[in-house]
Amino acid sequence: MIDEKILDLKDISKSFFGAEVLHQINLEVHNGEILGLVGENGAGKSTLMNILGGILPPDSGTMELKGLPYLPSDPKDADKARIAFIHQELSLFSNLTVAENMFIDKLPTGALWSVRFDKIRTEAAEYIKTFGVHTMPDAQVETLSMGIRQTIEITKALIKNAEIIIFDEPTTSLSQTEKDNLFKIIAHLKKQGVTIIYISHILEDVFFLCDRIAVLRDGHLVGVNKKDSVSKNQVIKMMIGRDINQVYPTIQKNIGEIIYRVSNIQQGRLVNDISLELRVGEIVGLFGLMGAGRTELVRCLFGVDPFDKGEIEFKGKHYRKLNPEICINNGIAFITEDRRQEGLLMPKSVKDNIVLANLNNLQQSFGMVSSQKEDQEADKVIKELNVKVQNKNRQAAKNLSGGNQQKVVIAKWLLKNPSIFIMDEPTRGVDVGAKFEIYTIINDMAKNGSSILFISSEMEELMGVCDRILVMNKGRIVADIPKSDYSQEKIISYAIGGGN
């Protein structure tokens, strides 16, 4: 049964304005399998899936679904064909409730087209219980963390009884528990005979879940292998076309004096009497489960949200109240967790985004912006970060791949040469090659004397890059682990709430 073809893509090609993004892709998807799809940012994974999901038409090639020609002209066709697409960027309505979001595509109606709210509430409650999500049907989505929102997004698709479900980077904002939950759900779906296409950068997960792994590189399908017949390193090599010797760059640097000191910061429930220090040249990791308060803490540190008590000392000055402007003027930078809503001006050009935080320094007389300087600086960081963009003045941020978008956000802050760089999940949605580039940049910055506070949900990443790791649990810092004492078990147990 598992060798029967459910989907057959033949010679699928796609170009955008002269640039070929997919080159004659021939891919079979077997009925009931979990097919992993991996590749660097810009390799064409999302484009291929968009074609499958009816969002884009292919330039040439054919698709067959269960032996019959499949030509979706819009996502509704894909829906009708029982193909569900769970996007990397969530599409929930933050002002509606959990139940309303789950059923938004299929609201059950009663008399006179009135919506049966009671019905969706009860059904939503059942799904919540089945999937073990910590929320309620009436909770407003905008109050929920990214992790819970993702789980709702997945539930939404499951409600539609899809036969094929495509997951595009589903675990980037999930906690370990939520991720384990997701894998349980996927296993359950497999037993029901659902075919799954699983796109992810996290190769461990791909190897764990998938039966076969397909690798895309620069728009070409480089290989499809059964999981047992290929190794992780071989897959990486196929992805980037070269050998990668190390995942984390090493660097020689000195760590200096304490330059940044946070004392007894308090805000609501999630920032509970937090104190920490950063030294010159230090890379400090901040780990914790979803809801531990990491994002809330750093938003206080940057003045995005006000804190009730406590103070921050930096460069000899004490601050009891902050806002982003003050921080930026003092050499602090901040990468937010949600780049679409808070990190980028999506409809604006790449160049406009890159110079956004640095406008004051581009000023000439009369408050005018020097367009020459603008160009030079933007080009400089684009090159440094290897941002894949053809025309920085005309291409909008929203048209870049997720990883390149993240690079643009980093570029924006890099222009400021910050002495303190706070990063909330900076490598989310970024591929292996680009991650390495970002780690290298972080290391270089540290070598030049900057201090970095690095939030991540990937323990391995923190262990590979950071000099020490702070662990948060329920709004408190419960551990400060130096590099010499790193161990996955120790970190995770502190995060969960046990700990010595």
């Binding site: 982003p324 003027n329 937010t336 001006l345 604006k348 935080a357 909008a396």
Partner: protein, 335 residues
Amino acid sequence: MEIGINQKRTLNSVRSFVYDNPILVLIVILFIGSCLFVPNFVSPFNLQNLVLQAIDIMIVAIGVTFVVLNGGIDFSSTAVLSLSSVFGAYVMAKSPLASTPWGIPIGILSMVLLGGVVGALNGISVVVLKMPSFIATLASMMVANGLAVYMASIVSETAAVNGLPTQFFVIAGSGGKFYIPVLITMVSAAFAYWLLRYTVFGRRVYATGTNPKTSFISGIPVKKTIFLMMLLSGLFAGLEAVYATARNQSGLPSLGDKVLIDIIAAIIIGGTSIFGGTGGIKQTIYGVVFITLLNNIVNLLGVDWTIIGLLKGILVLIAAFIDIVTKRLELMRKW
């Protein structure tokens, strides 16, 4: 037909020019059509009238554009026209300053500053009290209108405030000094264009209009920017009042009543997005010219006054529709 590479280049630049400035093309077509088919259109009197009619709303429309670029709206601009007009007329005609040489300059200054006061109050409502600009400016519009009528009733027995010094009317070009209002408008428009296109302030306006959260986190002083935009809108409305009062040669509490629709229509048809973040002074200028042309032609053709309201409404709908569709087109175009 074979065309050489130079011709191809020109063709391409013409094509992209048309794509970027669609309203301008419409205006040219409309203008040429009117020259040919509308009686009395090409007379020097009518053409001069056209310019003066355009200036009727040009300055205030530019001011409102600042606010719209931010994703907000300023309904109070037209009320500022009425209020400043009445107040300025009072200063120049009825106040103790009336017959002194200070009367006119102080009158002019007070009209502009009064606009600024309203603008500042709007700014405070939006930034400090966190009211949506829709509500805040609607409220200030009603208050300003009410004040204008009340003030006029106190200082004058008639509905309008008359008796303004004739030297003042030169602002609107009386006595053959046509260039004065044109100059004033061009300077204001050039200033506004320069501000938005070339300065840091302009960048902040566009950024805030596109996404205030991202802008805030990137260090843009969002509150200050919004406040300044509302202030500017008020000041520009005050300046417009100076011109309009000179043109009507009296202080009219009803000055702004009829033009609100034209102003908003001009801004939207011109191409500034109601969502904020895109558009600008150039677009508004086109929009004002377009609306003015339309008004002028309809008048000359003797079309029923009620029809034109309908026509403008439809045009605004089309423009707003294009606004939304263009956003989708851009998504596909850039790819």
